[in-house]
Amino acid sequence: MLAGLLGSLLGLGGGIIIIPALTLVFGYPMQAAIGASLMAVIASSTGSASYYVEEGLSNIRLGMVLEIATTLGSVIGALVAVYTDQYILAAAFGVLLLYSAIHMIRRPTTTCTYKPGPCGPLDLSCSYTEKSDGEKVEYGVQKLGRGMFASLGAGGMSGLLGVGGGIIKVPVMNLWMGVPMRAACATSNFMIGVTALAGAVVYYQFGLVQPVLAGVVAVGAFFGAAFGSRVAHRINGEQLKRLFAVLMVFVAALMFLKAAGVMA
């Protein structure tokens, strides 16, 4: 529940919190923790995805196209994880935590924008209305090839490490493809459930999803995320992000110790 709550407050998938908790605190093997985390990612993202779709913020056409790459990456990542030593997975997760910590405290970079129009054979242009001032925001999407390549990596990370992959998808859509930040976050959220599903199916087929553990984690993440989305506007997100970034560096160090066999 804490993972879902913090995830929605910090704009993260719950996996970043769930996996260290399950492996470092409760002593579960990495693969079991990843299997459970993917269920939590589906549970916490699905509720908010439906909200963003109804609000018209998600670029569904772009999301579907990028999902070809993220689902493929997720299946490949999950297959690699199934056959990878859990100490190597712990080290990879430590690297992901460090990257996430840097990403959280970094200042936002200026977004480039494109006029609506076709992007290769597809027109992925979209628009949404800003709730605050009623302004209609129209944008075009470019550099689909680069976006697809990065999405393959984001999907691979999701399947390999049990996270949503939004930490890659959002900046890629925003900085490279010209999607406004709010639409990029909503589109990423729309994609996360399907990306996690592709990896989760592999873990399920390999018997790496422990039903009780996955059930508890999914239910907690779902209700935590639902509560978090309601209280998010009352909390100073920037302060919380900085504090959490420091905690992530500490947890990354613990994951490296686990990878080195120093910790159980």
Partner: protein, 99 residues
């Protein structure tokens, strides 16, 4: 709407299964698959109900792709129909990967 219904259905199944498990713990904690989960449920094993909840949870984003596919077909956006079919094929591929 599809997402919300699927999500709540899986949450209800998971909460019921976990509550049942808390009262009468099962000796096993492995995923069973849809047919075996129903068999386990009928024979009074809470893992069957939890596993069904997990399968509902997994199926919810899948329903979302099917819905998008239907909408694209209805609006005759054939390129996006093809895109949706590609995503479905990749997920189907994952189903047939067995340990």
């Amino acid at each position: 709407m599809v997402l919300v219904i699927g999500m709540w259905a899986s949450m209800v199944l998971l909460l019921a299964g976990l509550s049942w498990y808390a009262i009468a713990p099962s000796s096993s904690d492995i995923t069973l698959g849809p047919v075996e989960a129903i068999d386990a449920l009928l024979s009074g094993d809470p893992i069957g109900l939890i596993d069904l909840g997990i399968l509902f949870l997994i199926a919810t984003p899948l329903l979302r792709i099917l819905t998008a596919l239907a909408v694209f077909a209805q609006t005759r956006e054939w390129k996006f129909v093809l895109v949706s079919v590609c995503v479905l094929l990749i997920i189907t591929l994952a189903v047939f990967v067995k340990g």
